[in-house]
């Protein structure tokens, strides 16, 4: 007999309580963040059904790790979803459909006399955004579309907040340069973009 090994285990009551807590935590996390994860996936993929697959797989991982769900789960969930989506997005066909969808979504928000200007801005934006490298695009998506601050976005990418700020600064500068080159006019933005300079980090 090995003296160091204690064959006793925690009481079954303790285990059940722990597991119940984890399960409730998962359910609460799911209800609070499913829409955000699904939207996150749609923003990176071509179609809703593929995005639903990504969201389901993301929460499947969360279910298996439900005892480890952090207090602020969204960056953690985005980190998982980003990698699942990256796998889905490798297909060139999906990428092409994403570009088409981006164009459609942008144009569907405009009507009347604003349409021409909106279409012009859309074309300019599509060209400028497409001219960036994928890592630059992702940095911008995390902040402008996913609404993360620099600390949270850094956690998603697995880098330091300082490193993320540097990457964001470069990506913003490069996007601005490409927007200008593409003839993009500032216009009015329908939603207010977050200012990472004011974010905690």
């Amino acid at each position: 007999m090995l003296g160091d090994i204690n064959p006793e285990m925690p009481s079954s009551g303790d285990r059940v309580r722990h597991s119940l807590d984890a399960e409730r935590r998962f359910e609460s996390c799911f209800r609070a963040h499913y829409a955000a994860v699904l939207a996150f996936a749609i923003r990176r993929l071509a179609d809703r059904s593929t995005a639903e697959d990504v969201a389901a797989e993301t929460f499947a991982v969360a279910w298996r790790r439900r005892g480890l769900i952090p207090d602020e789960p969204l960056p953690w969930l985005y980190g998982i979803a980003l990698r699942v989506a990256a796998n889905q997005r490798r297909s060139g066909e999906r990428r092409r459909r994403l570009d088409e969808r981006l164009e459609h979504e942008a144009s569907s928000r405009a009507s009347g006399p604003e349409l021409a200007e909106t279409l012009h801005r859309r074309d300019a934006f599509t060209r400028a955004f497409g001219a960036l490298a994928e890592p630059e695009r992702e940095v911008l998506r995390l902040v402008a579309w996913d609404g993360l601050d620099t600390r949270e976005a850094a956690a998603v990418l697995g880098c330091s907040a300082t490193a993320f700020r540097v990457r964001l600064h470069r990506a913003r500068r490069r996007l601005a340069k490409h927007l200008e080159a593409a003839g993009h006019s500032p216009g009015e933005s329908p939603t207010r973009a977050p200012d990472p300079a004011k974010e905690a980090g």
Partner: protein, 386 residues
């Protein structure tokens, strides 16, 4: 007079082009859609293998990027340790006459790689179920965990390929076997040992550091049958006690038409009592859903209604109330589907990229309930997701 040129705000341009604002999407999601999505996610979480991005299973699970790294675990040190450990086969020299254990338990124990963590303060905290060629044990010191898995030897090469996507594998030796170690994160490592007999072992620990992980590898010992069985948690149901335990679990339960407990009693395995409760509960729940499907097909409304009522009462089933296993919450998901007549029968398929093969595990309700044939031990040749 010159007009000052307005500066382009790239983030504002980005925000204006957002193809799917979260608030809009959240407002459009119906409750039923949310329930269905949750049911699907739970079912997926139960499946044997994830369609993970090649090369990043760990990042998938931890939500952190893997980043460039070289696994330099210091397996040279581990190789030295191996000389101190029980060299050679864990299958050899069962030792002892083990008078206090029944023959069936001994048969399972003799076939298994009987590895124990012997570091001070560590004990087995989970021994869900194991059979002759597969099983897993979880050790804990109260704040960290260390898992020992064993799988059929025929799956070794597939696991090797799968784990090689985690990080650059480092080879050494441990317990007289070739040891392949990968780094999930700087806090978490896994080591696979080459097959011995009909099984191979994989250990995995999230211990906070490489040094702590090596320390636990250092304390692994192959032990004799008596020592191994004696180290099992008190809640372990041994094969000789299984039949009686199943009878007790079934007592007072509403049993579906044609239910046969015989198959549940005959398993030659060692199981934790809560794992056995889940198996019995799942078999009953799956039986009720099957009877509901058959009744609907035959137009037998009374029989369909009996199934709906039985599942609707699942939270009051004696087994559920007694065992209080969180998994039983999934019965309510399926019960709701039966109540509204919309059972989720969709197939869930996965592409296992190592071999480029696709496996279909559906329908979804069977995965949600954990019906026979949907657990990872029952799906041949798939790397398990820890």
């Amino acid at each position: 007079m010159s007009r000052k040129r307005r500066k382009i705000d790239p983030l504002a341009a980005m925000a204006a082009a957002n193809p799917a604002p979260t608030a809009e999407l959240a407002a459009s999601l119906a409750d039923a859609e949310l329930e269905r999505a949750m049911s699907r996610a739970v079912a997926l979480g139960r499946t044997p293998s994830q369609p993970v991005p090649v090369g990043d299973r760990a990042a998938l699970e931890t939500g952190t990027g893997r980043g460039p790294r070289r696994a330099a675990l210091g397996l040279a040190a581990v190789a030295v340790l191996a000389a101190l450990l029980v060299a050679g086969s864990w299958l050899r020299g069962g030792g002892g006459t083990h008078p206090e254990f029944a023959a069936a338990a001994v048969r399972v124990a003799e076939a298994n790689p009987r590895l124990l963590v012997t570091a001070a303060g560590w004990k087995i905290t989970r021994a869900d179920e194991f059979e002759i060629d597969s099983g897993e044990l979880t050790f804990s010191d109260g704040s960290h965990r260390f898992d020992v898995h064993w799988y059929p030897a025929r799956s070794y090469e597939q696991y090797l390929r799968d784990r090689a996507t985690v990080s650059d594998p480092e080879r050494g030796s441990l317990l007289g076997q070739t040891a392949t170690t990968v780094e999930y994160t700087p806090e978490e490592y896994a080591t696979m040992l080459s097959p011995q007999g009909s099984v191979f072992v994989e250990v995995r620990g999230q211990l906070g550091s490489r040094a702590a992980y090596v320390g636990i590898l250092d304390s692994l010992r192959a032990v004799d049958v008596d020592t191994w069985l004696a180290a099992m948690p008190a809640s372990t149901v041994r094969p000789e006690a299984r039949s009686e335990a199943v009878d007790q679990l079934v007592q007072g339960m509403p049993l579906p038409p044609g239910f046969d407990a015989g198959a549940l009693k005959s398993g030659a395995s060692i199981a934790d009592e809560s794992t056995l409760a889940v198996k019995v509960g799942n078999a009953i729940a799956c039986g009720w859903v099957e009877s509901w499907i058959a009744a609907r097909a035959a137009g037998d409304r009374a029989a369909a209604e009996r199934a709906v009522e039985a599942m609707a009462d699942s939270s009051d089933w004696p087994l559920v109330r007694k065992a209080e296993v969180p998994w039983f919450g999934n019965y309510e998901i399926v019960a709701r589907q039966l109540r509204v007549g919309k059972l989720d029968r969709s197939d869930l398929s996965y592409e296992v990229r190592a071999d480029g093969r696709t496996f279909v595990f559906g329908p979804a309700w069977r995965l949600t309930l954990g019906c026979e044939g949907t657990s990872r031990h029952e799906v041949d040749g798939l790397p398990a997701t820890p």
